[in-house]
């Protein structure tokens, strides 16, 4: 993919017609009333009793206006609204739903497990069952790995769930052995791993304390993506599972080059710390790390510079088309992003996605 036509046609390329799969779409967050039918009797008692209702993360208050496209208002409230606002106009052949909610943020491991399981059932019944184009990430409780493994096994045969969702800033760095049973179960059943921007606030998102604004918070998503790659690599998860693809969602793209450069530099010198890492990090990363294209922190010089950037991170095979609907990153969602070479469209919008998700059947 490093050789490409630099001359960008003047004409816009429409997403419709590409057979695209949108790898990061956000349905509205379920409230208590949504989850009640899918909870056990104990939790049906506890959710109202403990006043658990709106499960949003501090780092992403869903009602905040600047985050939502005015033209997408209500477009993620249910399946028919999503189809009308997004799936139909872009003629998507698939869309992967990511619920990034406080379900994975509860401190109580059993409550976290209950919230994740209920959310998965809600997604399956209220969304996936109602539109064949929809796919989803499976929420699992990282606070309770045994329950996470059970949940993954429960969904073994429901291939509409294509990946396991983790947050970039979670309980611990993602490579820790504590989480290995989750990755083992995921790989055993063909799931990919999605590391989505966001924090469950076990730790301050910066290395020196708490940010004051969402503006700062967003910056740390990319840094968390870099940290997650370093952790999954160094702790041995990526080499334990060379077939595992890890999708860094909503975290940008350009951070990967600096991450690779530094990992390779350090590995050459202190490989002895991690002798299980037998290949240079750039080889492992190009093979296994993927990134979604929204938001896209592309170089300002257009497709030619984007091609140069991706040549530094591996190749354009690492990019997966996404809109992050309904979040607002500017631009016309129906048009191929002007920063990306148009002759990448078939791969980024579809072929790379199919190659990333063994469970994805279109």
């Amino acid at each position: 993919m490093s050789t490409l036509t630099i001359d960008q046609p003047k004409q816009d390329l429409r997403i419709a017609g590409l057979g695209a799969v949108d790898c990061d779409v956000h349905p509205r967050l379920p409230m208590r009333a949504d989850l009640m039918p899918y909870l056990s009797d104990y939790w049906q008692d506890m959710f109202p009793y403990r006043a658990i209702d709106r499960m949003e993360l501090v780092g992403y208050p869903v009602g905040t206006q600047p985050f939502n496209r005015p033209d997408c208002e209500g477009g993620n409230k249910d399946v028919s609204a999503l189809a009308k606002a997004h799936l139909d106009p872009l003629d998507l052949s698939g869309a992967i739903l990511n619920v990034v909610s406080g379900a994975q943020g509860f401190y109580d491991p059993y409550l976290q497990a209950a919230a994740c399981e209920a959310t998965n059932r809600w997604i399956a019944a209220e969304w996936l069952d109602r539109d064949p184009r929809l796919r989803a990430s499976l929420l699992v409780p990282f606070r309770h790995p045994e329950a996470a493994v059970e949940e993954i096994r429960r969904y073994r045969d429901d291939k509409r769930f294509v990946q396991v969702l983790a947050m970039g800033m979670g309980e611990e760095p993602l490579g820790r052995r504590t989480f290995w049973p989750i990755y083992d179960a995921a790989v055993e059943n063909g799931f990919s791993l999605c590391v989505h921007g966001g924090s469950v606030f076990r730790h301050a998102p910066t290395q020196s304390g708490w940010p004051s604004s969402l503006t700062e918070e967003m910056v740390h998503w990319s840094q968390a993506a870099a940290n997650s790659v370093a952790s999954l690599l160094s702790e041995g998860v990526l080499t334990r599972h060379p077939e595992l693809k890890v999708v860094m969602a909503e975290s940008g793209v350009s951070w990967l080059f600096a991450t690779i450069w530094r990992l390779c530099k350090e590995w050459r010198g202190i490989r002895l710390e991690v002798p299980w890492l037998k290949e240079s990090p750039e080889i492992v990363i190009e093979r296994q790390i993927r990134m979604t294209t929204a938001p896209l922190d592309a170089p300002p010089g257009g497709p030619e510079e984007m091609a140069a950037l991706m040549a530094c991170t591996g190749s354009s095979d690492q990019l997966l088309f996404a809109t992050d609907f309904p979040h607002d990153h500017g631009g016309d969602l129906g048009v191929w992003p002007k920063e990306l070479p148009q002759d990448w469209a078939a791969d980024v919008a579809r072929n790379n996605v199919i190659a990333t998700y063994p469970r994805l059947e279109l």
Binding site: R177, R240, L272, V274, P275
Partner: protein, 136 residues
């Protein structure tokens, strides 16, 4: 190409190393537990003197935490820890592009060293002693 007498063997005891300059080359000569080895003295990374590096075995691991000594002898650069195969000079971390040159080095008895192809600049050869001989 020629054979050079570097020093008396007793001047390079096991665990020691020295730098020699021959025909404009800097060469690091090691006595690794009784086995002699010689490599170009400059690390191809940033030019550290390899004669000051550590020689240790190569550690591998099949999985995380499963450390395993292989017995293979490696030189670790004193600056950044890059590892080179002591016998071939090949880099582990970038074998395709990075290597230091390895030289043949041997022990030869003093008897006969005054004759033949040897180049002896410094030493008076005593027949009862052993010498380190480098081929370049």
């Amino acid at each position: 190409m020629g054979k050079h007498v570097i020093c008396r063997l007793e001047e390079l005891p096991p665990g020691s190393s020295r730098r020699v300059d021959i025909e404009g080359r800097e060469i690091a000569v090691f006595n690794d537990e009784g086995r002699l080895a010689a490599l170009g003295n400059r690390c191809p990374h940033e030019g550290a003197e390899l004669c000051h590096g550590l020689i240790r075995q190569f550690f591998a691991a099949e999985g995380a935490g499963e450390y395993e000594g292989t017995g293979k002898r490696m030189l670790r650069c004193p600056w950044h820890g890059w590892e080179f195969d002591l016998s071939t000079g090949q880099s582990y971390v970038d074998p395709a592009r990075v290597r230091v040159r390895a030289f043949d080095v041997d022990v030869a008895p003093g008897e006969g060293l005054s004759e033949g192809p040897y180049k002896i600049d410094v030493y008076q050869i005593a027949t009862e002693e052993d010498y380190v001989v480098l081929t370049i």
